[in-house]
């Protein structure tokens, strides 16, 4: 099976390269070592336009992770709370959580993303009138700026954000693009996770709970020792899907100008004309990320499943 797929891919690749050559389109990965030639608005590596293109891709991949991983954490925490909330005995809380779920999961993610983005950029003040809720913290259309502890040479000091030219310089910053993507991805995934959590908990049979009660366990003990371990068996596999969706959905960030992998790939295609190669890189990265996520989740799943089975 795998070898048939391999032969098929090789044939396809060969044909593609042949046809590209025939049509006067250049091919190959050498271009990754040429200077990138473009700036990137934000990222965690030091980078400028003179550096090789592969470094721009590295920036893009890190930006994808920088938004996907926190989103996964926030979505899981928030999703669990909403999921529990939907099972609450308090009707108003139950209704509120139900409302969140229904409204968020029925609006396309792209729309939510654009909505958050334009809400942020329209409502926040210009850099020159930035709000400073705490000393050293600035909020403007340019994003959220926090003091950063930075060490240059031998000395370390607080690097405070301050107005310079048109923008705010220094400190540690989160752009409105980042914040919009983080918010949209977290909330959107959270409501799906909430449903998974709710379903997982409801799947625990009433008999198990009744048995625990008969043994004299208290409600919190039941939740911790009976309900959660049993529910996890149903939750984890479905959660894996959500995490995979979330990572891939992060590619929607191109719509609001967040420089993640797809955005960098788009720019690189433009700069180098190597559409095919750049797409191959994007596919390879998403495939790798998905496989790693699935692997980790399967390991975790094996643990919860085993514990339940013992």
């Amino acid at each position: 099976m795998v070898s048939i797929l391999g032969v098929l891919l090789a044939w396809l690749g060969h044909n593609v390269l042949d046809n590209m050559r025939e049509r006067g389109i250049r091919a190959g990965f050498d271009f990754l070592f040429d200077p990138a030639g473009f700036e990137i608005g934000e990222g965690i590596l030091s980078y400028d336009a003179a550096q090789p293109l592969w470094r721009a891709f590295a920036m893009g991949i890190l930006n994808t992770l920088r938004v996907a991983i926190p989103s996964i954490v926030i979505a899981t925490l928030l999703g669990s709370l909403i999921g529990l909330g939907r099972l609450s005995t308090t009707p108003s809380l139950r209704k509120l959580c139900g409302f969140c779920v229904e409204s968020l999961r029925n609006i396309p993610l792209l729309l939510q993303l654009l909505m958050w983005y334009f809400a942020l950029t329209s409502l926040l003040p210009d850099a020159s009138d930035a709000i400073s809720p705490l000393p050293g913290v600035l909020i403007s259309k340019g994003g959220l700026f926090l003091p950063a502890w930075s060490c240059v040479g031998g000395g370390c000091s607080w690097n405070l954000p301050h107005l310079e030219g048109f923008g705010i310089e220094g400190g540690w910053s989160l752009s409105p693009e980042y914040l919009a993507v983080l918010t949209a991805l977290s909330l959107y995934s959270a409501v799906f996770i909430a449903e998974i959590v709710r379903g997982g908990i409801q799947s625990v049979s009433a008999g198990q709970i009744a048995a625990a009660q008969a043994l004299g366990m208290r409600p919190l003990q039941i939740l911790r020792h009976i309900t959660i371990p049993l529910a996890l068996r149903a939750i984890v596999p479905a959660l894996t899907n959500q995490f995979l969706n979330l990572s891939k959905n992060s590619s929607l960030a191109v719509a609001v100008g967040y420089p993640e992998l797809v955005s960098i790939a788009n720019t690189s295609i433009n700069q180098s004309g190597r559409a095919f190669e750049c797409i191959v890189i994007v596919m390879a990265v998403y495939l790798t990320l998905s496989l790693i996520t699935a692997l980790l989740m399967n390991l975790y799943n094996a643990r919860v499943a085993l514990r339940g089975a013992k």
Partner: protein, 344 residues
């Protein structure tokens, strides 16, 4: 999932794979395909005022749109036999390569890398432009060199994205690009105040300012022109016959202006004594034969959309909201650089 991922993000995987894994293009087939299909697939922008913009009824207008209509008139005898395919900057070249469009007339800059490595050929220039910056008046800027640390909104997949990096690197000024995939999101972000400047071709800036801004007078275009943007139509490589038709239709529209042939007088000029006019309109000589068309090809194009000057005035010049000056896009004998080789 992968498929929808690429659909959403504009990477044209299906196109490219389908196009490249299949057999290579054959020369001379485009015209046959067009005749058989009965229309021209014309790749345009998703909506740039003055160049290609659909109205509320879905009727397209603009300089590029008129150019496609002119070709449809020349080739198929009917300016309305065009299907406009809106393309964002990233989709445009794949759409042409894969054969989804016969012709790209989409404010696209002619450059060496595009001409030599994308499997396409530019047939000429239909608008000489340059890149500039649009800024809010309230920032009181007078030069692009004052944009230190500014955030600048730009659309990905454009020459503008590249020039932006080059220009400020050369000036040793640090700026932050905010790069959008879609046109609308890019200018909306600018108008919301996210960026202190918006950059693209000056004609595009005029469109954004006059068509999309709530109050156009709140925005100004800075004096710097940081690049050459010769915008022109492109066709797939390897079909010289089709290439020649597209190229010479454009020349015919320019030549028509030079000889004073307009939409209004083209019919009466058919029996003009001027041999140049007779040749162009097919009343004395058959220039169409050489292109694989009939003798009235140029006559029909001018009759449908007017000469270049009329197309300019209607879409981007004095009769439009953009009010762009003729500048470089005037005829060579009127202070511009439009110069069509002789049609004979």
């Amino acid at each position: 999932m992968i498929h929808s991922l690429f659909r959403r993000t504009g990477l044209a995987v299906p196109f490219i794979l389908a196009a490249l894994a299949s057999t290579p293009a054959h020369a001379g087939k485009t015209l046959d395909a067009i005749k058989q299909r009965g229309n021209i697939q014309c790749g345009v922008s998703t909506g740039v005022a003055g160049f290609s913009l659909p109205d509320s009824k879905g009727v397209w207008s603009g300089l590029d749109v008129d150019f496609c209509r002119g070709i449809a008139a020349a080739v198929l005898g009917d300016p309305n036999k065009v299907n406009f395919v809106p393309l964002n900057p990233q989709q445009r070249f794949s759409a042409l390569q894969s054969g989804e469009v016969d012709l790209l007339a989409r404010n696209t800059t002619w450059s060496l890398s595009r001409d030599a490595s994308l499997g396409l050929s530019f047939t000429g220039v239909n608008y000489y432009d340059g890149q500039g910056f649009l800024v809010p008046k309230k920032l009181k800027l007078t030069s692009a060199k004052q944009l230190k640390n500014a955030e600048i909104c730009v659309q990905s997949g454009t020459t503008n994205e590249k020039n932006l990096a080059d220009y400020f690197r050369a000036q040793n000024i640090k700026i932050k690009p905010v790069v959008f995939e879609g046109f609308e999101a890019s200018f909306k972000a600018f108008f919301s105040g996210r960026c202190q400047a918006y950059t693209t071709d000056i004609s595009g800036l005029a469109g954004v300012r006059n068509k999309e801004a709530k109050n156009p007078d709140d925005y100004v275009i800075l004096p710097e022109v940081i690049s050459k943007e010769p915008l022109g139509p492109a066709v797939r490589r390897g079909d010289d016959e089709w290439f020649a038709i597209v190229r010479w239709t454009a020349f015919a529209l320019i030549e028509a202006e030079e000889y004073g042939i307009t939409k209004a007088n083209v019919v009466s000029l058919k029996d003009s004594k001027d041999p140049n006019i007779g040749r162009l309109l097919g009343s004395t000589e058959d220039s169409g034969k050489l292109l694989g068309l009939d003798r009235e090809w140029a006559f029909r194009a001018v009759k449908a959309v007017g000469n270049y000057g009329e197309i300019f005035a209607r879409n981007v010049g004095p009769d439009s909201v953009l009010k762009l000056p003729r500048g470089l896009n005037n005829l060579w004998n009127k202070g511009g650089i439009l110069y069509a080789p002789p049609i004979r």
